[in-house]
């Protein structure tokens, strides 16, 4: 597999009246063709800023890329001009936003909104674009596409609107699709339909997908690989099995432990104490240390590097250092690990 996207040491800050907010503080990850990478984290962890930076949609002038590279097929997107980005955006890289109501133009017919990109990027004439747009609506599972083409967004339900947004994103066969919480505003049954649709389309078009969410259930459903973000950094990255069945970072433990499973009957959920750090003055050392009951002394002094767990699995915690004390993960996480090793034994 060849690398489609490589993000190297990306740092993004926002200038505000209160000072500089360091939203993204050195993010590294890569993405192969046809692969799905899920980025998880709490609000304020920098996951959405990362994706808007990839799209070149960082608000100017307050948002600044401090350093780093975004290599898309070997070309650095950070260095591209606004004009050049306009050619890439919507064509090679497309995005599905969280709220389908506010990402569609309410005064424009749905068909025209899909045709817009086709006419602009693919130099299609209106008739061809119209034909292609109707096909796209059919592809995303909207019944009676001919009729629906001439309707306005308010005539669609939430799930149907999100399908339209996906159709727009897919119009130019992008190589990379970024979905920022695409199902958060939807009901569970609709969410399940949209996830199935996205997986099916990805298989057909072989585009890569970056899926941003805070819902670990959705991650388990769609992802090949997972990057866990905290305080503007990737703290753990691995395949979906690495992250769910063999998590190493205490923050990942907390995330997994704080979600009840359907067969869990514990008296109390494993909650991460406290709240995320203030990114105006990010703490020295490991940003998660103040909320981490397993924190070591070194955590308050020095930031942990990425430790290698396996070829696919890396985590940034001093607990993986050879001199660190052996620490047992919390019960609920341990049960997860045991359950999995049992399952593997049976196979």
């Amino acid at each position: 597999m060849s690398k489609l996207l490589e993000v190297k040491d990306l740092k993004v800050s926002f200038n505000t009246y209160n000072g500089e907010v360091q939203a993204v503080r050195g993010v590294n990850f890569d993405l192969n063709k046809g692969e799905t990478l899920a980025i998880v984290g709490e609000s304020g962890s920098g996951k959405s800023v990362t994706s808007t930076t990839l799209m070149g949609l960082l608000p100017k002038p307050q948002g600044i890329i401090k350093s780093g590279q975004i290599l898309f097929e070997g070309e650095d997107l950070v260095k591209k001009s606004v004009k050049e980005m306009q050619k890439i955006r919507g064509n090679d890289i497309a995005m599905v936003f969280q709220d389908p109501m506010s990402s569609l133009n309410p005064t424009m017919k749905v068909g025209n909104q899909i045709m817009e990109g086709l006419i602009k990027h693919q130099n299609m004439n209106r008739a061809d674009a119209k034909k292609k747009a109707t096909e796209l609506l059919e592809l995303v599972g909207i019944p009676q596409p001919d009729v629906r083409m001439n309707q306005y967004p308010h005539q669609f339900s939430g799930g149907m609107r999100q399908r339209v947004v996906i159709a727009i994103a897919l119009a130019c066969n992008p190589k990379l699709l970024i979905a920022d919480e695409p199902t958060t505003a939807l009901d569970v049954t609709i969410q399940a339909q949209i996830l199935e649709l996205m997986k099916k389309i990805q298989k057909e078009t072989n585009s890569a997908l970056i899926f941003i969410t805070h819902d670990l259930g959705v991650v388990a459903n769609v992802a090949d690989r997972v990057a866990v973000m905290y305080a503007g950094k990737v703290v753990e990255v691995g395949t979906v099995d690495d992250i769910f069945y063999n998590p190493k970072h205490p923050y990942t433990w907390g995330l997994l432990g704080s979600m009840p499973t359907l067969d869990s009957a514990e008296e109390e959920l494993y909650a991460i104490p406290g709240s995320p750090p203030d990114m105006l003055n990010p703490p020295k050392g490991d940003a998660f240390a103040p909320r981490n009951k397993f924190a070591l002394e070194i955590d308050t002094v020095m930031e942990p590097p990425m430790f290698k767990v396996s070829d696919t699995h890396y985590a940034a915690t001093w607990l993986l250092h050879e001199d660190a004390p052996k620490i047992e993960p919390p019960e609920s996480v341990k049960r997860r690990m045991q359950g999995f090793s049992k399952m593997e034994g049976e196979q």
Partner: protein, 311 residues
């Protein structure tokens, strides 16, 4: 078993007139009981009427029809101010969005003390302040927070303020309408643990409305599933998850993504097709096995009874 009913909802209806002689039947004949000290979960998709049910019970909406009995007394209908005050003190609500349910111009002290003032539960300012500070500590905030304004808090902290406000008048019954859906995963667990602890310490009864089914299962003793203004299934939470009978419940359960990749790879989703139902008569709510109720017709009832006994 002698069941101690705290709240009885009998054939509750709430219709909204949306103009042009159109009526939306948001809640169309819902009946259930909530026992003292239990957590009753109400799940359903948006538009199923679960929030309207909660709001109608606490009289934020006037019911179109039906009865709500709290401790055996009817809550709805014409009431004197005194009677209303009495009910309002026993029943409180926690709202979904912690930023829009707190008045941005009031300090935390005034927000929490509003109930104390209305019900004249404190004699002087000193007592009022002490009581609020005590409440802040109960929900895991600091005494110093009393003088601050809501915008100075994070989402999870604001929800704690909302909980402190609900607790101020020492209610018996709290309606929590999606109290955690606006919060981050790690903060959700904190708030759920807090609600559980308070229930244990104070013997509270909850009506917990949510669409996050795994969290509802975790917190609730019994769960009711709503679909288009009707309750379609009601059972103990274990029973409902292990042995769902109504096709809609089955489809809803099969749609929840779980944080388990192995399970997700093997998951098959069931889609709900309302046309599978027998349309020969109006369905009713019937008990298919002890404590397990399903909305069905006579014909379906026989089938469901067999289904329920099989497992």
């Amino acid at each position: 078993m002698a069941e101690d009913k705290l709240l009885e909802v009998i054939n509750l209806q709430k219709h909204f007139n949306v103009g042009r002689n159109k009526i939306v039947k948001a809640v169309d004949g819902v009946s259930f009981d909530i026992l003292r000290g239990e957590t009753f979960g109400l799940v359903g998709e948006s538009g199923s009427g679960k929030s309207t049910t909660g709001r109608t019970i606490i009289r934020l909406y006037d019911a179109t029809g039906g009865e709500v009995k709290f401790n055996g007394e009817d809550v709805h209908g014409k009431k004197s101010k005194q009677e209303l005050l009495k009910f309002n003190r026993k029943m409180q609500m926690i709202f979904q969005d912690p930023s829009s349910s707190l008045n941005p111009r009031m300090t935390v002290l005034d927000i929490i003390a509003e109930g104390l003032d209305v019900h004249k539960l404190v004699k002087n300012d000193k007592e009022r302040k002490e009581r609020v500070e005590e409440l802040l500590e109960i929900v895991g905030l600091n005494r110093e927070h009393a003088t601050r304004f809501p915008h100075e808090f994070s989402g999870g902290q604001r929800q704690r303020i909302g909980i402190a406000r609900a607790l101020a008048v020492e209610p018996e019954f709290i309606i929590a309408d999606e109290p955690i859906s606006a919060l981050d995963v790690s903060i959700q667990a904190q708030v759920v643990n807090l609600l559980k602890r308070l229930q244990k310490e104070r013997g509270l009864t909850y009506l917990f409305i949510a669409h996050d089914l795994s969290m509802v299962k975790y917190i609730s003793d019994r769960i009711g599933v709503m679909y288009l203004g009707n309750l379609v299934e009601l059972a103990d939470s274990e029973e409902l998850y292990n042995n769902p009978i109504h096709p809609y419940t089955k489809s809803l359960l099969s749609a929840i993504p779980l944080p388990d990749p192995e399970y997700e790879r093997n998951r098959t989703r069931i889609t709900y097709d309302p046309s599978v139902h027998d349309s020969s008569e109006e369905p009713e709510f019937r008990e298919v096995s002890p404590r397990h109720w399903v909305r069905c017709t006579t014909k379906e009832f026989e089938q469901y009874k067999k289904d329920a006994a099989k497992k």
